[in-house]
């Protein structure tokens, strides 16, 4: 027993640093909710709020005028909105990966970051879902176009269940629902902890109500653990299905550069890649500004950097494969897509994408860079830009020069397109900043559990 404990101490540095007690964990994690936030928070909140406000104004313009106010035309009929949709759904994937898949693999390091990663998923999927709705032009008809209902008052037809776009509706709404339930399930014990820790009666009442009367009895814990495991088991294939279905929006079409069987795994890897980059962005910032350095340690940054590097390699491999198959297919249009991407009018976007997604993550081969929050933050920003551009390139370069040379044209985003992009970032960061102040940002019960098993030198319990 003692040898096992000793060797595990040598092999694995502790996940929670600073020799905390259970009470200190509660104090530390409840602290940002209970005291005045630092100046940086107010600055960030103001910027995010202004971006959101600008987005609201632009969306009002969009709904008032119609999608003609975007830079779209007959040839390039999908632009920023669909790019944003794929980008934000992809961001969401890392949250589910961290919370569900790493739970199934019993990776204990996830405990410090899963709560905020799950919150990120929910906010990102909200941002994603807005795009197709706005793209419909007449969003007040959304119910009729998106969901089957009976009796159908708008005509005899139902939605087309054979269209990948409809699969998307089901995939994204299921994903949002399951992510919310999973997140709330994990929050229940921590809401009770926040209630017990709260000083004021109103605050205690709110948290007590939100915790649905959580008492932490052994029977509740037993069912809670089982339910969390089941939800994780459901979320794991779900997350893979969501980006698969998103990729089918493209792969099922005949547009060159879209019509490709590699898309489902390529999109899933890209989603995890971009999502981990966003988690790195958010966590390097929040550990710095919210005082969570003992919980989100350099080991966590290191682990996330490794996943980012791995998925970067998968994505790079997919770029190569795609290009090779484009040449090998001997299809003129398919070959032209890649030549046009690399040398055509959007070549800057294409090469920036390659620089950000293929070259930038290579720094993570070195431990020194993986363990540096500053480097991790900078590279994560590169990847965020690169992955947004990747979706833009797939959509716009694929469409703007297709089969008929007479219909070739360019897509120039208008200020309303940009307004939507800015507004979505505003929405995402506003939600995340509010979350960081109002709910326990780290899963306290799970951290205590990890601490307990580290104390007792247990290895296999999770």
């Amino acid at each position: 027993m003692t040898t096992a404990t000793a060797s595990s101490e040598i092999l694995r540095p502790p996940l929670v640093e600073g020799g905390k007690t259970y009470g200190q964990i509660t104090d530390d994690i409840c602290a940002p909710m209970e005291k005045r936030p630092p100046l940086g928070w107010f600055v960030a909140f103001t910027v995010a709020g202004l971006a959101l406000l600008w987005g609201v104004i632009m969306v009002t313009d969009l709904i008032w005028t119609g999608v003609g106010t975007w830079g779209l035309n007959k040839t390039v009929s999908w632009g920023f909105a669909i790019t944003d949709f794929v980008f934000w759904v992809g961001i969401g994937h890392a949250g589910t990966l961290i919370s569900a898949i790493l739970l199934l693999f019993r990776q204990k390091w996830r405990t410090a970051i899963n709560r905020s990663a799950e919150a990120m998923t929910i906010f990102a999927v909200m941002c994603a879902g807005l795009n197709p709705l706005l793209h419909m032009g007449r969003i007040w008809r959304g119910l009729y176009w998106l969901f089957p209902y009976y009796p159908n008052t708008m005509g005899p037809l139902f939605v087309n269940f054979r269209s990948p776009l409809l699969w998307d509706v089901f995939a994204v709404s299921t994903y949002l629902t399951i992510s919310l339930l999973f997140w709330y399930m994990g929050l229940l014990p921590d809401l009770a902890t926040a209630a017990a820790h709260a000083k004021g009666a109103i605050r205690r009442f709110i948290f007590r109500t939100l915790s649905l009367g959580w008492s932490g009895s052994a029977r509740t814990w037993r069912n809670h653990e089982k339910a969390s495991l089941l939800l994780a088991g459901l979320a794991t294939p779900l997350v893979l299905s969501v980006h698969t279905v998103v990729s089918m929006d493209f792969a099922c079409a005949i547009v060159p550069g879209w019509h490709s069987t590699i898309f489902p795994p390529f999109f899933v890897a890209g989603a995890i890649f971009s999502g981990f980059a966003m988690v790195l962005t958010l966590l390097t910032l929040s550990r710095e500004f919210l005082g969570f350095k003992d919980y989100i340690t350099l080991k966590h940054i290191d682990a996330m950097a490794k996943v980012t590097l791995l998925t970067s390699m998968i994505v790079s491999m997919a770029y190569l494969t795609e290009t090779l198959i484009g040449w090998y297919s001997a299809n003129t249009f398919e070959r032209f897509y890649f030549i046009n991407a690399a040398t055509g009018p959007y070549r800057y976007c294409y090469w920036t994408q390659m620089l950000c997604n293929v070259v930038a993550p290579q720094f993570f081969w070195f431990k020194k860079f993986r363990r540096s929050p500053v480097v991790a933050f900078i590279i994560s920003i590169f990847i965020n830009i690169g992955m947004w551009l990747e979706r833009f390139n797939i959509i716009v370069i694929g469409l703007h020069r297709d089969f008929l040379t007479s219909s070739w044209t360019m897509y120039h985003p208008t200020y309303v397109d940009w307004g939507l992009l800015i507004g979505l970032f505003g929405l995402f960061f506003t939600c995340f900043l509010l979350f960081s102040r109002s709910l326990p940002m780290i899963a306290m019960s799970e951290i205590k559990h990890v601490l307990s098993s580290e104390k007792h030198g247990e290895k296999q319990h999770a």
Binding site: F161, T177, G213, W214, S215, A218, N223, L234, S241
Partner: protein, 171 residues
């Protein structure tokens, strides 16, 4: 009828687990434990039955699958059949994605609400075991008091095992 409980409050999960095991050996079985995180090993000592949630999840998922299949089949083959490219009205491979999504949706939603229902949880629930800081850093072991003689044995055991405090809570 009000139920009398004797509660021993500990500051470590190890001590609580040890006390629970000792009590079980002496034939004074504890009825429940309130803790800030799940304690492994307490389930066996308290002899808790396995959760029925996996079954609920399975039947929820099966309902979702059946719903998705019926809905798509009915729309495309019964209610308003449409000839699209000469394909069969019942082309089931195209139904797979929605069947999968609704299976997951129904299974997840039913598991979540079954959990709340099983534990009787709702926003206005109150519990007599609140205020012991078991959500924070304390570990409470609960004994159901059927007789006065048990109370004495239990409290001497709890004292011996290093309980910080012993309380009587009426449920």
């Amino acid at each position: 009828m009000p139920n009398k409980n004797l509660v021993g409050i500990f500051d470590s999960d190890e001590k609580m687990l040890h006390a629970a095991q000792k009590a079980k050996d002496l034939g004074l079985s504890a009825s429940d434990a309130y803790t800030p995180f799940p304690i492994h090993g307490i389930d066996e000592i308290l002899e808790l039955k396995p959760s029925i949630l996996p079954k609920v999840c399975f039947f929820g998922g099966a309902t979702g699958l059946l719903t998705a299949f019926t809905l798509q089949y009915w729309v495309h083959a019964v209610y308003w059949p449409m000839n699209i490219g000469g394909k069969s009205f019942t082309a089931y491979p195209a139904m797979v994605p929605i069947c999968f999504e609704l299976t997951v949706l129904f299974a997840g939603v039913s598991t979540f609400f079954a959990f709340l229902f099983l534990r009787g949880m709702h926003p206005f629930k109150t519990s007599p075991f609140w205020g012991l800081q078991t959500e924070n850093n304390k570990f409470a072991l609960v004994f159901d008091l059927e007789s006065e003689s048990k109370a004495e044995k239990v409290s001497s055991l709890l004292n011996q095992e290093g309980a910080l405090e012993i309380r009587e809570i009426i449920e």
